[in-house]
């Protein structure tokens, strides 16, 4: 198996990044909404609470993958809304590929698709 097929050692750490970047690729969202979308779209299998979400968001913001701005909702409540930057989109593509490779490799190993 060549190096191209080797799964990066960081792939597990990238799961949170993938989840957040993937939902932000659909639309700009604030923190609560990001967590809600991830929970809904994964059927509750993947979930983020305050303690797990914000460190990820702040790290991604520092790296320039997302940008945040305060916005006022229709209810009058102010919330910090995140949107994906061009760097974030560039990061999302290889991340998706790595995860696809990872699950294909696991599937070959354990026959997950048939399970």
């Amino acid at each position: 198996m060549g190096n191209d097929h080797k799964v990066s050692s960081q792939i597990k750490r990238g799961s949170a990044e993938l989840a957040v970047l993937a939902v932000l690729a659909e639309a700009p969202l604030h923190g609560y909404e990001i967590a809600k979308r991830i929970r809904q779209q994964t059927g509750g299998v993947v979930s983020f609470d305050v303690a797990s979400l914000y460190p990820v968001l702040y790290t991604m913001e520092r790296r320039g993958w997302v940008q945040a701005a305060w916005e006022e909702a229709a209810s009058g409540r102010r919330r910090r809304c995140y949107h994906l930057t061009a760097d974030g989109r560039r990061r999302l593509q290889p991340l998706r590929r790595e995860w696809r490779d990872f699950f294909r490799a696991l599937n070959r190993l354990a026959g997950l698709a048939d399970a």
Partner: protein
């Protein structure tokens, strides 16, 4: 309904961030918890506050993770190393000019006659260099403050010219110990080491600290734009 901002501010404790950035984090997390609380209440939860707060099992750990995530990995280099190296450069430049003046006036052999306070060295070489050190220390502390460093980091940057001699003398000591340990031990004189320490580390450190003093107080320069203060409140 609980005051979520106050609750989050109390539980997060002292986040080591710029004040505006800290307010922004508190407001954002409070807004998130408030939405959770409202959603749970609307869904008829028996204890919406309890369930909302259960999201954060360890606030101290969350504080640590937030600080780490906000921290620039180049922060130490930008806040301490670069200002410290600038101070060191000024000090070393002054030292080389002093040395050059000494050699020009008294000849190269004079360099080997230094015994702390004897000979022409103090007037021509040591004292002018010492007079420059407060300015070098001030430069280090000022640059560190501009980079957003804390008071301790500014002080460290200011002390680079004297720390340099600690590092250099330690290196020479280690090399001498490896090359010829017996000679090092037999020639070791505590009084000489104390004089070297006093004149090349302690007094220079005091001179640098005097120059740095006006720049140690005060908040670091803000690098982030100020967020709204009422962010989480409707």
């Amino acid at each position: 309904m609980p005051d979520w901002e106050q609750l989050v501010a109390e539980r997060l404790g002292h986040l080591k961030l710029a004040p505006e950035e800290r307010r922004e984090v508190v407001a954002e997390i409070a807004a998130h918890l408030e939405e959770c609380y409202q959603a749970l209440r609307a869904a008829g939860s028996p204890d919406p506050e309890g369930y909302t707060l259960a999201q954060v099992a360890d606030w101290k750990a969350l504080r640590h993770r937030i600080q780490k995530s906000k921290e620039d990995p180049m922060s130490f280099s930008r806040k301490v190393m670069m200002p410290g190296l600038a101070a060191l450069f000024v000090a070393q430049f002054a030292l080389s000019v002093s040395l050059h003046s000494l050699v020009a006036l008294h000849g190269a052999p004079t360099l080997w006659q230094f015994r702390g306070t004897a000979g022409p060295l103090p007037g021509v070489f040591y004292l002018p260099w010492l007079a420059i050190l407060p300015f070098a220390g001030a430069l280090g502390a000022w640059l560190a403050r501009r980079a957003g460093a804390s008071s301790a980091q500014r002080f460290t940057a200011a002390l680079f010219p004297s720390l340099f001699f600690v590092v250099v003398s330690s290196l020479f000591g280690v090399i001498a110990l490896l090359v010829n340990p017996q000679r090092l031990i037999s020639e070791f004189k505590l009084a000489n080491q104390a004089v070297i320490l006093l004149f090349w580390v302690i007094i220079p450190a005091i001179a640098c600290a005097i120059g740095a003093w006006p720049f140690l107080a005060g908040a670091p320069r803000q690098t982030e734009p100020a967020p709204p203060t009422d962010a989480a409140r409707a």
